[in-house]
Symmetry: C2
Subunit: 334 residues, 2 copies
């Protein structure tokens, strides 16, 4: 399952002209963490998104125009319920593993608790059972940047022009939280962009400023502001403990039955390791089979998207073990 | 010296109707960290600000209108140079101590290096010798929020109406960086604001959202967007090492002569302790008299503004010692 603004194109190239492979190409393919010589990989765009599944930019059949503001706020649970329908449509009754990082990890957790009979294992990476106040705060500021853009027009901007400025600022905020103090120092430090000295104005003097502006601008070309609002809201609303356990993580995981591989990253300050540890503890109190690893990485939250030999081996070994134990159970249930 | 958006009203009440005392009332007053029974305290609004000193909202005598976009980007050095003129105007040749936190701490460091003969000691709190890439990144996004507001009008908005939306978003970003993950969890967690359940829209469901919106709105009433742009730029441009030491902190502090009290706070992730430790190391390599303390506090960067018995005692003891050694030097030089 993809993260906040990802899509169904998880690996490989669709067209020879594609500049980039799918967002998790480092992990999905022959011989990779998810070995496509052994397993089928399904990745769908989330409900409410703008990269394939129905979302606010989709046409409302009743009006012939985009849903816009009329499109509802969806939850991680809604996304997973839609994914279940896809899986059933494909004639599959059980998945070897539900795997995702960040908001994709929330979906993995939701799958394991909502449809335990359909998942043989789950791999939530760099994620949390409930969005923290700080994570909500960043999303809220990003949303306010969009809502403050006069072009937003209450969400019905598809004919009048998109809220590009607000969406760019929103994305810039996100990008800071995906990196880390250390990663930014390594990547940019105080280096200047295409100039020998500071400008004494408000141009992008520093490389980090130029990087953020570039990321903001690029995002506007590919993502819909209404979807962004709903994706961030779904993340903020995500609270597995409340939804399934009456505010108790231990109670929520009583519904789960499968083995888990939980991974956090040392420099991830958006979903810090202590949050993964808390979910692992709740899983273990339910006697679940849990492997937990904190991976040393300076890249921040984005680390789960970057090549990491240890992560690849962990996932290979975990899937291998789950696959083997299913065969021992005596079936080709997958 | 005050921080980014502070002012000259550092302590006490100006009017009986004031709801709040000055921004550092916990530290300044009879018997407090800066004991006004023993010492005179001077606090001036910084150059380029909007709370007393000349800034972009001030009237340009040549046009009879506010400076607006014509007001230059000023540096921390410019602010300190202006403060020196004030001090000289008051007939003072030497200051017992230059004290400030955050951007005020940058000014304290600048004072100690730029005008070493005028300062008998310096107390930089929760600050850095050079703004990190991450700190620049947050300021840049805040500026972009303002620049993206159509009401900004290139900075000449005093007649047409202020860029209130952009400025509010900018302030919200700042407020996240002034707290900490832990502080936000303690203060807000996922508690809802004036409602029993989530709204499934984009209202301020969570207390943390309501808090940020309130802070953003309040800021718009008291602060000028053009000053905000210049204050953040001054912080980003601050690089004591480059300005005075050819990119070496050790070289920069060869100019300093006074004792320092350097304080950092455990949960301050805007100017983390490692940055204070680096400056302390550079000071010590110059044989300077340095006291360094990292204070345990969960409040994040804002901790320096909050009551802390240890900080109060540290400052009292430090000023007492500096004051005593000056008298031993044989003079009432202050």
């Amino acid at each position: 399952m993809h993260a906040l603004t990802g899509d169904s194109h998880a690996a490989g190239f669709y067209e020879p002209s594609d500049k980039q492979p799918g967002w998790w190409d480092i992990m999905i393919g022959p011989g990779k963490g998810m070995d496509t010589d052994r397993y089928f990989v399904i990745c769908a765009n989330v409900l409410g998104g703008c990269m394939g599944s129905t979302g606010p930019a989709s046409v409302n059949p009743a009006t012939g125009k985009p849903w816009g503001s009329a499109f509802p706020v969806v939850t991680i649970g809604d996304m997973v319920a839609a994914q279940k329908k896809l899986v059933e449509h494909l004639g599959i009754t059980r998945l070897l593993s539900v795997i995702g990082g960040s908001v994709g990890g929330m979906q993995a957790l939701e799958w394991a608790v909502r449809f335990p009979e359909m998942v043989a294992s789950a791999v939530p990476l760099a994620t949390t059972t409930k969005h923290s106040a700080q994570a909500i705060a960043f999303n809220e500021v990003a949303r306010q940047a969009i809502l403050a853009d006069p072009a937003f027009c209450g969400g019905d901007y598809y004919e009048s022009g998109i809220p590009a400025h607000g969406l760019a600022v929103a994305r810039m905020i996100g990008h800071i939280t995906y990196l880390s103090d250390e990663a930014m120092r390594e990547k940019f430090d105080r280096r200047l962009q295409d100039r020998c000295d500071i400008s004494f104005d408000f141009e992008a003097d520093f490389q980090v400023e130029s990087y953020l502006r570039y990321q903001g601008g690029k995002f506007v070309d590919r993502f819909d502001a209404n979807s962004f609002l709903r994706m961030t809201r779904a993340a903020d609303y995500f609270n597995l403990e409340k939804a399934w356990g009456n505010d108790s993580a231990v109670a929520a995981f009583t519904r789960a039955t499968c083995p888990f591989l939980v991974v956090s990253y040392t420099s991830d300050w958006l979903y810090p390791t202590y949050q993964s540890k808390a979910m692992v503890q709740a899983m273990k109190k339910n006697g679940l089979d849990v492997s937990f690893v904190e991976i040393e990485a300076s890249f921040g939250h984005d680390a789960f998207l970057l090549p990491n030999e240890r992560m690849t081996k962990l996932l290979q070994g975990f899937l291998d073990r789950v696959h083997g134990s299913l065969h021992e159970e005596g079936g080709h249930a997958l």
